[in-house]
Point group: C2
């Protein structure tokens, strides 16, 4: 499994590079999903379950971005999906140039659905267009229902919000209605998927959304 | 309760401003603790419990830093401690100039122990000296025991590591020994406090450490 050391892009305009990468992915028939969240909210567990459930229907690849270690890519690799680990040279987010470099190193031939598992951070990744077709964020139940109030930009920039670890709802003071209301106030169009990747509850809604979005993406190209 | 809008400091040298603030706090008899963690790891809950337990022995103030909202400062305010909310103008961390501005606006007369509750972020806050006497980080059990592998700088920069939400250990795959070993490998001197601010288990060790560190800090001045 590859580990690639990246450095901040020298591209003058990140937005231009992002548009270029989006075009390239569209021509390739690949929907790239930028998956963002706090550390430990369950990005890798969600991806692992998605690969197990959808792996026979769509060809999936995962670009794992971290400051250090390769533990996430090793987990994805063990599931038989294409995976590459990139290290961000200490940086708190991925930009479009870094994403393109990682995807090219991994190889996108035949890939229907590619995930960028962004650096665990609820702030900085929201500020950089990575070139993804869709932005998805995760908020885990243990983090609390007040997070839309504190980190509004991430909720505004995301097409979908996964509320993860719903199997732990009995043990935490998490008001689902309040959380949904706060997220929708920031972003009325956000699609919300409460789910548990551990028990599987709610996974089918998220996975069906991925399949439909990928289909719509390819038809647009 | 005050809400203060801050902007990134124009100070040429953040490190120089940090040293200046440390000197000022020392002369004031105040130990400033920079409290850092991911979003939702329990910083405010830990501070709330600490204020309830220690409030009669030491005079505590809390500077709450967030991108938006004032929910944390309102919680601290309701406990009767001095509290100010600062907004970071979208920034992902606090620097020394911002911290000084916030502390001065709050007023430090008679304060023994001041906490800066930094922006919820396991990456960027570790890169900026805030002028605090001690750096304390929280890792919550739901986030997972692999975090030292992925976010090494935060563990290297912290004097103490609080492993929070230990009441949830039965419901998560969290290997305490592995986590402690990984943290100590990065920072052999780090002091580790597993605790639950909800049940109170382990709180007395952390609180006694705070009292002793404050005493040592004042004797040094």
């Amino acid at each position: 499994m590859k580990v690639i050391e990246l450095h901040e892009s020298v591209t003058a305009s990140n937005d231009r590079e992002a548009d270029r990468l989006r075009d390239e992915m569209k021509k390739n028939g690949t929907l790239l999903i930028n998956l963002m969240s706090s550390p430990g909210s369950g990005k890798t567990t969600l991806l692992g379950r998605t690969i197990r459930d959808l792996g026979n229907r769509v060809k999936i690849a995962v670009l794992e971005a971290d400051i250090d270690s390769a533990v996430d890519a090793e987990k994805i690799d063990a599931l038989g999906a294409r995976a590459v680990q990139v290290h961000t040279d200490g940086m708190c987010h991925m930009d479009a140039g870094m994403t393109a470099e990682g995807l090219h190193a991994m190889g996108m031939e035949g890939i229907d659905l590619a995930f960028l598992e962004n650096v665990g951070n609820l702030i900085c990744p929201a500020e950089f267009d990575t070139g993804a077709g869709k932005n998805v964020m995760i908020l885990s139940v243990p983090e609390g229902d007040d997070k839309p109030l504190k980190y509004p930009l991430m909720f505004q920039k995301s097409d979908a919000l996964v509320i993860s670890k719903t199997d732990t709802l009995p043990w935490f003071d998490f008001d689902m209605d309040a959380c949904v209301r706060r997220a929708k106030k920031l972003n009325p169009d956000i699609v919300i998927f409460p789910l548990s990747a551990k028990t599987g509850e709610g996974m089918e809604n998220f996975e069906e959304w991925l399949v439909q979005e990928r289909k719509a993406w390819t038809n647009l190209s």
